[in-house]
Structure formats: C-alpha cells, structure tokens
Symmetry: C2
Subunit: 93 residues, 2 copies
Amino acid sequence: MAKLNSILHQELRLSIISFLANVEWVDFKKLVEVTEASKGNLSVQITKLQKVGYLEVRKSFKGNYPLTECCITEEGKTALETYVSELKKLLNL
Amino acid sequence: MAKLNSILHQELRLSIISFLANVEWVDFKKLVEVTEASKGNLSVQITKLQKVGYLEVRKSFKGNYPLTECCITEEGKTALETYVSELKKLLNL
DNA sequence: ATATTTGGTTTATAATGTAAACTAGTTTAC
DNA sequence: GTAAACTAGTTTACATTATAAACCAAATAT
C-alpha cells in the first residue's frame, strides 16, 4: 500500500498543518476559529503534531492571558508535501 | 471543519474504492494484491463499505472455490467524488 | 463578592483498526 | 486414504486513536 503518513491522515491534524503551511505564527484562538474544532481536541492534536516535530509551539502571555502560538516546521512542510503526493498517487490525481 | 467522509477517510477503504472507481467487478484476491492489505483487514473494510452502500458484493463459486467479487455503486462513486473535492478544499489544491 | 469568560489541559469513554486465530472446505503428496 | 498444505475468506480480541466532557487557574464583569 501507499502507506500514508498516519499522523497527517486525520482531519483535524491535516486542517491544522495545511492551514499553517501558508502562514506565520498563529495562535490557539485562530486555530479554533479556522478548524471549528473543540478546544480539547485541538489541544490534543497540536501536542501530537508538536511531539513528532511537525510544528513548533511557543507559550507566552499576551496582556494577562496565556498565549499559545504554533508554526509549522520544515519537517512538517516536507511531511505535508509527501503526504499530498502519496494521496494523489492513491487517488490517481 | 470540512467534515471529510469518515468512511472514506481511511487508507485501505480509500484504496479499495479508488481502485474500484475505474474498473468493473473485481475479486477479493485481486484486491489483496493491489492493496497489499491482510485478508482479515480487507474483509472487514469491504464489509464496512458494503454496509454503507458504497459497494456491491456478490458471492459465488469459481470451480470449487468460493469467490467474492466487489463493484462500486453509484452512491460510492458520488461519495468518492465529494470526498476528493472536500479534501482538495482542505488542502487548498 | 460571585458569576462569567479566557485560554487552555486532562481524563474517561467511544470508535476504529488490525493481526492472529479460526472456519470450511480443496488439493497435493505420500 | 489420510496427513499436510493450500484456498478463500470471516471472526474475535486487543491495541490504538479520537473526542467530548469535565476540569483548572487566572482575569474580568456585574
């Protein structure tokens, strides 16, 4: 089989990575907005993507509130490209 | 979220459907060959695809041996097309 | 003061995936 | 003719994954 990257072959994680592929640092709130996912799920999936090195997460404070921001890594970009190309192969696109 | 069809958003099921999309009736053996999946997994996923109406399964005998053949349904074709277009949207393709 | 909101994390449960074991019979080799 | 190996799958038990609900600490609004 093609063996699609199983980390990326999940809708929310794919949404996150694929959104981050085209932008700079994005905060948690923005990701909730664009993915329309629950905060819990988003938190879990961001952590998963970070653990495998597909995105960098930095935590700070904006005013008084905690602020979590994410940015795709080079490894993440490469993995996404590979995933997309494997998927295209599988779908004959 | 895009809400990808969760039945199709699985590698083996996607392989099966996407292979069947371009051919006529195909037997189990051929599917083992092209998907390189285990027979157990293939059996489970074919049944799942059949249950939701994405493919038709007919069982007969070829010589003395049981023969299981699959064919994509119109519903399956439509679902695949929708899935692919949603996926493209998600990936900005 | 206390209720609500912000910005998340943790956890318990449900859903899914898969390999291994099994069924039921057939063919081959001894 | 019978034991071993093969065909063509199915079932089951376990492991992984996904997700919503509950929770937390601090801030702000009433």
